[in-house]
Symmetry: C2
Subunit: 295 residues, 2 copies
């Protein structure tokens, strides 16, 4: 059991606004806000700094959340802090889209604010701000590595729309992440109702432009072959319509891409499912992040 020791002091980095600062398992669960150049808006992210960050730079696990989430859902509900403290990982959880006045939105829960789908939009009215792929893959890691006690060892994971985001972001950037995993991901947005609606809005009608954001398409051409760890509840209410793990399995089998797909009877789509398997995912990433750099 992790003994919750007194957290170390940590000053607010220049250029950031600290909205929350809460001792957690001997470290700090913070929330920051900053002006993002990628989205042209103010963006929020949660960051857990483990006790080990008092003694030197730590590797970073990025977490991408699902539809309707902000940075809060994961940091409140997943129980990740205990595992991050055990393994000495920083965990960064951004919001799921740009928000605020002047940012386009839609009535539907699966388009617009809270539903960025981790793409860089190219079509009006989304293109000016909905540049979440650049934000999560480039701007946010650069910021974290410059301003926090973080090294450049990165892993990425996420849930549902964020599971799609994690798979796609890792597949699009060979060499950038040490490991990737997902819980109940949208396996192929191009073959899900929410994904088709979002991609047509953000990227336009030409489906060729969708492929660089579809895990099953990217797997066919992947050069890195980072093993994919995926957990999926079999009582998940979105499994047939939106998540479709069978598409991910088929794409990996066809391409010979390594996939560790674990199906769990009884589990649904909620954060109770995420929390139940969070420890295994953090351990999976910790092993990759702590392995010799030459491997």
């Amino acid at each position: 059991m992790t003994s919750a020791s007194t957290p170390f002091g940590f000053a607010v980095p220049a250029g950031l606004q600290r909205l929350e600062h809460r001792a957690s398992f001997g470290g700090w669960q913070d929330v920051y806000q900053h002006d993002s150049s990628a989205t042209g808006t103010s963006m929020r992210f949660g960051i857990y700094l483990p006790p080990q960050a008092a003694h030197g730079p730590c590797p970073v696990l990025y977490w991408l959340s699902g539809l309707t989430c902000t940075e809060q859902n994961f940091i409140i509900k997943a129980g990740v802090q205990r595992y991050a403290a055990e393994h000495g990982l920083i965990v960064v959880a951004p919001d799921t889209s740009p928000r605020g006045e002047g940012v386009a939105d839609a009535e539907s829960y699966d388009l617009g604010q809270g539903a960025g789908f981790y793409v860089d939009a190219t079509v009006a009215p989304w293109a000016p701000h909905f540049r979440m792929q650049t934000y999560v893959a480039e701007e946010l890691p650069a910021l974290v590595e410059a301003l926090f006690p973080a090294n450049d060892r990165r892993s990425i994971s996420g849930h549902s729309m964020g599971g799609h985001g994690a798979l796609v972001t890792a597949l699009r950037h060979p060499g950038r992440y040490r490991s990737v995993s997902a819980l109940a991901p949208i396996s192929s947005p191009m073959q899900s109702a929410s994904g088709q609606g979002a991609f047509s809005a953000y990227l336009g009608a030409d489906r060729e432009t969708w492929k660089p954001y579809d895990a099953c398409e990217l797997i066919a051409h992947a050069t890195e072959r980072l093993p994919l760890r995926v957990d999926q509840g079999l009582d998940d209410e979105f499994i047939d319509r939106s998540l479709r793990p069978e598409l991910l399995r088929a794409a990996c089998e066809k391409a010979g891409h390594p996939l560790d797909l674990r199906l769990h009877a009884g589990y649904d789509h909620s954060y109770y499912f995420v929390a139940s398997f969070m420890g295994e995912h953090v351990a999976h990433h910790a092993a990759a992040l702590k392995a010799s750099p030459s491997l």
Copy 2:
């Protein structure tokens, strides 16, 4: 690490309505609603059934929540399910007051619905429904032990107003609980602003009637001397005005009552604090609950 296996089947007990049923760490995090005879209202409670409950009756840890909480806050934020699954404990978390139409309420966050203070009110308009002491100490355990795979080994804990509730409920009922603990409890409602307001409303102006609901008063006359385990964050924003752990320490020292009071620099009043020490509290209760009955 607890492997999250497939949860067992569990049918809804007669007389209860199941509102939530979510697989969690190989067991079930459920929420039930029932007609309470104590409060004369419909009451909700969360119950975690660990994997061990598939094989026979398990001991029960009762959790009492703080001001403004429902049964949801604890089951979402505390991360208790992992520890309960490890130790084989059922965890029951009731709502903090009666609610609904026809139930008295107040504008203030610390009186009325969401603020039952775990007393049996004697004064209008609260007396008809605000009978939370009878509910948590008698009706709920009887229901749980009759309808769930629970034995009659009980422990009790809670946070803030619920920490007060746990201490008082255990002290009022010698022999009923195997162990008691609290996180950031209101040590003496009679000497806190919120407590004075609530007790005068629920119990009337005669302070003698308040003493059976004040831990520091009860400790002076306790016969059982169940050790009190209490954790308190030193950056808790309510420590000086409402929680006042120094009163609990003084009462225990004066009476020679065993107290394990642990103060934690940096920690605040939030569920990030609760989650950080939840594992130690569950282990503390599990040890008492699994000890030989003759001890």
